[in-house]
Every structure is written in C-alpha cells, then in structure tokens.
C-alpha cells in the first residue's frame, strides 16, 4: 500500500502542468489510532448488464480518507450479505469489525436507480441505518457521498462533509508568466472545473452561504476588484472596485452583505460592510493600523478580523453596532491572522507564527487558548469544513503551494497531491442539498 501511495505522488508530479483537466489525489498521512473498523460490502446488483457504479468503493474511499475509519479491505470480506437480516454478527466480530454496511442497487422503471443501504452494529446486531433513495444515473457518485455522510454521522455523531465542494486558486507557469484559475471541485478532488481564469492574480475565494456563488478578488483589470460569480450561470458581477485595495470578501450568514477590506484613497486599510442589494457601504473599523480579513460570527452580529493595532497582527472581534471598541481575541504568539469561524462559533482557525514557522492553529473564541494544528513552515489560508471536523489550508511542500487538511483536534493529517501547478487559498463550501 505504501508503494502505491508513493507512485501516486510521482504521477502527480510527472503529469504535464499544461494538463487542464488534472485531478487531485487526497492521501491520508496520519490517521487516528482509534479509527473505527468497518466492513463495506459491495452492493447487490441483480439486473442485466454490469453494475452502473461501485457505490461501496466510493464510500470506502471516503471513510478511509477521513482518517476516522479503518475499512476492511474488500479482499478480506468473508461473506457478502446484502441486507441487515443477512448479517451474521458473530462472523464479523471475528474479523474485529465494529460495523457492517450492506445494500442493493436496483434499476427503476423511470430510468433512475434505487439505492438501498443498511448499517449494522456488530456488537449487538442492531440495525442503525436503513434507507432507500431514488438516484439519477448521473448522480450515483454524489449519492455515494451521501451514504458516507450518513454512516459518518451515525457512528461519530457529526454530519459528514463528503458531499461538499472546495474552491481554490490554481497557479501555473513561471514567475514572469503566471496563469491563475479559480477552481471548484468535489471535496474528494473529483469533478474539478475552472470558474474563472486570468493572467493576473486571483485571490481570496469565499462561498455564499447557499453555496451557489463565490466572491473573490481579481486583478484582471490591472487593479484589485471584488467579484461575485454565480456558479450555475457563470455570471460575474463586479461588486467593489474602489481606489486602493479591495480585498478579503466574506459573506454574512444571511448572504445579503459582504464584509471586505478597503484602503480607499487615503491608504488606510479598514474593514467595511457592503450591502449587496443597494451597494450601501458602511465603515466598520477606523484605525490607522491595518484592519483586514473580516470573518462573520455565526450569529451575524459581530465580525472577527486581523489588525496590527498592537504592533503585530492579531485577531479582534467587533460588533456591528457603531461605537463599540474591538475586543482582542488572540494573545498567544507574535502573529495571528486569517481568522475563520467554526460552524458552532466556538473555535477560530488562524495562521500563527509558531517557533519560526507559519502554522494553522485553533483558538478558543471565548477564552483565547491557542492550539497549533499543523507543522509546516509556510502554512496559510485556513478554511473550516461545514461540519467543523476538518480544516483545509495551503501548505508549501517541495517549494510548491499545495492543499492539506488537518482535523480540528490536530490528530488527522491529509495531503492533497495535485497534477497541475500550485494550489492555494482553499475555501470549503457550505453543506449543499
């Protein structure tokens, strides 16, 4: 298995950088010692012709990649039950498996498929999940991710985020002739496509709360401006092109406002809130220091941001009502920036300067305690999964920016190998239905 992983990395590096439809490969570097042993039995398929999609293989890959599960290799499956009633718990207990996932795929008269699956606890033979869902032929992969989500939630108590997407900036070419692409792919790196491309920098993608649009910074006019692009139509709207910098867009929880960083004519970088419907602009901070990288609190009533008002960058929080003094959130270390708020509001992911390296850390939003999670030298741009379990970020590996994932507790580490150029500034999508 180790050899195969090494080969995958080599393929990724050897693939020509001009390859546009290049795919990402996610590899688990370090999983949990107490990962959950589970058997995922290939789904029954009784109809004529070959099985249209290997649902079990995708579920197996999802769960294994998460680092929280240890799926039994398919070659070690001693029997192939297809319903909970057929699962002999004693047999699976001998294989030291805690759970068994079984199911069946059947064609429906209207051309769709019925995907049935059941999750059985080996300890007591109890059926924990039993679901049947109709699936379009084209959506079998997505449906498989949903099965993974359900299994993950049933066993770990946290909703899975396998059926989500990531946006990131892909950069190719030498320093003097770069090309930038804003890319969206599935959370497992599949189905990537280019949302917007430019020879000039693209930065800071941020999802709208409904997952239908991305806000980002592009320099393609020669100067920085913020755009909101609808993914389904490709329609791109310029929402901020003030004098000076237009940066760090962040959607409010209701999607109606955009927090952003502007320097305007005087060059003083402050945080503003733009109402998208009427272009009303409200200044939120007014300090001669740098105030940037706004991130909304989950209740939409305050905003976290980076400021060097105390001499070096630290994270602060300020209410949207005027006249309130910002409250400092980070105290440990000489550099804390790029705040991102966890879905439950309890943790803030940041970039911290830790013993000479820029690393991803989580900060207790109330008490300020900081835990370093990553171990690179130039880690940056954290983005938290919508279930709060994982943080995706940019890490410099072998002189190139690439993507990596660390669990919010710092125990699980994944590296995302790319076949093309450099990848940076990942943004994890919200849950999508």
């Amino acid at each position: 298995m180790k050899l195969r992983r090494t080969l995958l990395v080599l393929v990724a590096l050897a693939w020509p950088v001009s390859q546009a439809g290049a795919q990402l490969t996610v590899q688990i570097l370090k999983g949990m010692a107490e990962s959950v042993p589970i058997a995922i039995v290939p789904l029954a398929w009784d109809a004529a012709g070959g099985v249209p999609y290997d649902v079990a293989a995708t579920v197996q890959a999802d769960l294994e990649r998460s680092g929280r599960f240890r799926p039994l290799p398919r070659s070690q499956l001693v029997e192939m039950p297809h319903a909970a009633s057929e699962v002999d718990a004693a047999d699976w207990r001998m294989l030291k498996v805690d759970y068994v996932l079984v199911g069946k795929l059947e064609p429906m008269p209207d051309g769709r498929y019925e995907l049935r699956y059941e999750l059985v606890s080996v300890a007591n033979g109890e059926r924990l999940l039993g679901t049947a869902m109709p699936v379009d032929a084209k959506a079998l992969k997505r449906a498989s991710h949903r099965v993974s989500d359900a299994v993950y939630e049933k066993i770990l108590g946290v909703r899975g985020a396998f059926a989500t997407r990531i946006a990131y900036v892909a950069v190719q070419g030498p320093v003097t002739k770069r090309s930038y692409r804003l890319v969206v792919s599935d959370a497992d790196g599949a189905n990537e496509y280019t949302v917007f491309g430019s020879p000039d920098p693209i930065m800071s993608p941020a999802w709208s709360p409904d997952g239908r649009s991305l806000a980002y910074v592009s320099f393609h006019t020669g100067l920085a401006a913020i755009y909101v692009q609808t993914l389904s139509t490709g329609n791109q709207v310029q929402v901020s092109a003030k004098s000076g910098i237009n940066g760090a867009p962040s959607f409010s929880p209701d999607g109606k406002q955009l927090a952003l960083a502007l320097s305007r004519r005087d060059g003083n970088v402050d945080v503003y809130v733009l109402t998208l419907a009427d272009q009303n602009l409200k200044r939120l901070t007014d300090d001669p220091s740098i105030d940037t990288e706004p991130a909304w609190a989950i209740d939409g009533r305050s905003i976290y941001f980076t400021s060097d008002r105390a001499g070096a960058p630290q994270v602060y929080n300020v209410g949207l009502e005027s006249g309130v003094r910002p409250r400092r959130v980070t105290f440990e270390g000489s550099y804390n920036a790029s705040p991102r708020v966890s879905p439950d509001g309890r943790l803030i992911a940041v970039v911290t300067l830790d013993r000479g390296g820029y690393r991803i850390a989580s900060v207790d939003a109330q008490r300020g305690g900081l835990q370093v999670l990553s171990s690179g030298q130039l880690d940056e741009s954290p983005s938290i999964a919508p279930n709060g379990a994982d943080i995706i970020y940019t890490s410099r590996v072998g002189g190139r920016d690439s993507l990596a994932i660390v669990s919010s507790d710092g125990r699980i580490h994944q590296q995302i190998a790319t076949s093309a150029g450099e990848l940076r500034e990942p943004a994890w999508s919200p849950f999508q239905n």
């Binding site: 080969l7 003097t176 000076g244 910098i245 320097s263 960058p313 002189g399």
Partner: protein, 176 residues
C-alpha cells in the same frame, strides 16, 4: 487509477525531464526575452530596444531619473522607508515635479510569509508610504497610482531570507 504501464511511462518521462539539457546557444542581440531564458533583472547588457509596457509585468521596472533605482526595499513587516532611500525618493519626486505629464504606478509587494490578505494590506501601506514621500517632495497626486500585489508577484524565487529581502519592495513603474 492509471494502469502500471502508464505509470512507468510517466515516471520515465519525469526522469528524462530531470536529465541535464544541452545548453542552447543564443546569438547575441537575437532578442531572446527574459521569459525564454527565465532570467530576471540585470541580464543581457547588450542592445536594448524600445521598451513596451507589459500589463503588470514583474520584471525590473525602468524609467524615471537616469541612474536612479526604481525599487525601494523594506524590512520585515515594516512600511517605513529606510534612510538609505532618501536620495532615491528625492530624485524620483524631483523628476515627477519637473515633468507634470508623467505618471507612475507605485506597486507594493511583500515576501511570501504569513497571511496573503494581510500581506496585501502591508504592501498597500508600503506603496502609500512611498506615495506620500513622493508627494511631500513635489510629485503631484494625479501622477501617482498605487497598487498592492502583496505576495502575489515575487521577483525572486525561493523561500530564504535572500529571496525575501528582494521581494519586500515598492516598484516605481513609469508610463502608467
């Protein structure tokens, strides 16, 4: 997943790509561009044709008073102009004051460390510091446009202090 033969072929290609290439000789004055040679500043002291503007090119900026640098370097996380650049600022400010129709872009940059958006803000502050210094010495407001690229456009590759100190800079780009 790709099959083994394809794998081996790709690995072979990788190994071939790693072999030393035969040096290619370019006749002098044949107009090899910096792009082709992958070179940056200070190379090819032969003939220089008329310059043309490249949109946002990160090569070495030129134009302005003769014999005066167009690049001002900064200390880490700082935006105050070091005393050694006083003469550079004065020369550019006088040049601009004497030729009111000339416009420049004041482009701010940082090294690659830390947050990208914080670096955009830091580079903006550097560009604004240079803009203000130029205006104090006679340059007109309308002659100056600032743009911050943060860490997006390094001039020196690599992740060490010698690269970082070259990348923490403000470039004065004439003719914008």
């Amino acid at each position: 997943m790709r099959s083994l033969p394809v794998l081996l072929l790709l690995i072979g290609t990788l190994m071939l790509a790693g072999c030393p290439k035969k040096p290619t000789t370019v006749p002098e004055g044949s107009g090899s561009t910096a792009e082709e040679s992958g070179a940056s500043e200070g190379q090819g002291e032969g003939q220089v044709g008329a310059g043309r503007d490249l949109p946002g090119a990160s090569g070495s900026p030129t134009g302005g008073p003769a014999g005066i640098s167009n690049v001002i370097y900064f200390d880490f996380d700082r935006s105050d102009i070091r005393p050694e650049y006083a003469t550079v600022i004065t020369a550019h400010a006088r040049h601009l004051a004497a030729s009111g129709g000339v416009k420049i872009r004041v482009e701010g940059h940082t090294d690659e460390r830390g947050s990208r958006e914080y670096n955009i803000a830091l580079a903006e502050r550097r560009a604004q510091a240079v803009r203000r210094a130029l205006m104090l010495q006679g340059a007109g407001d309308t002659q100056l446009t600032t743009v911050s690229y943060g860490e997006e456009r390094p001039t020196a590759p690599g992740s060490d202090e010698s690269a970082y100190e070259k990348n923490r800079r403000v470039e004065l780009v004439y003719g914008r």
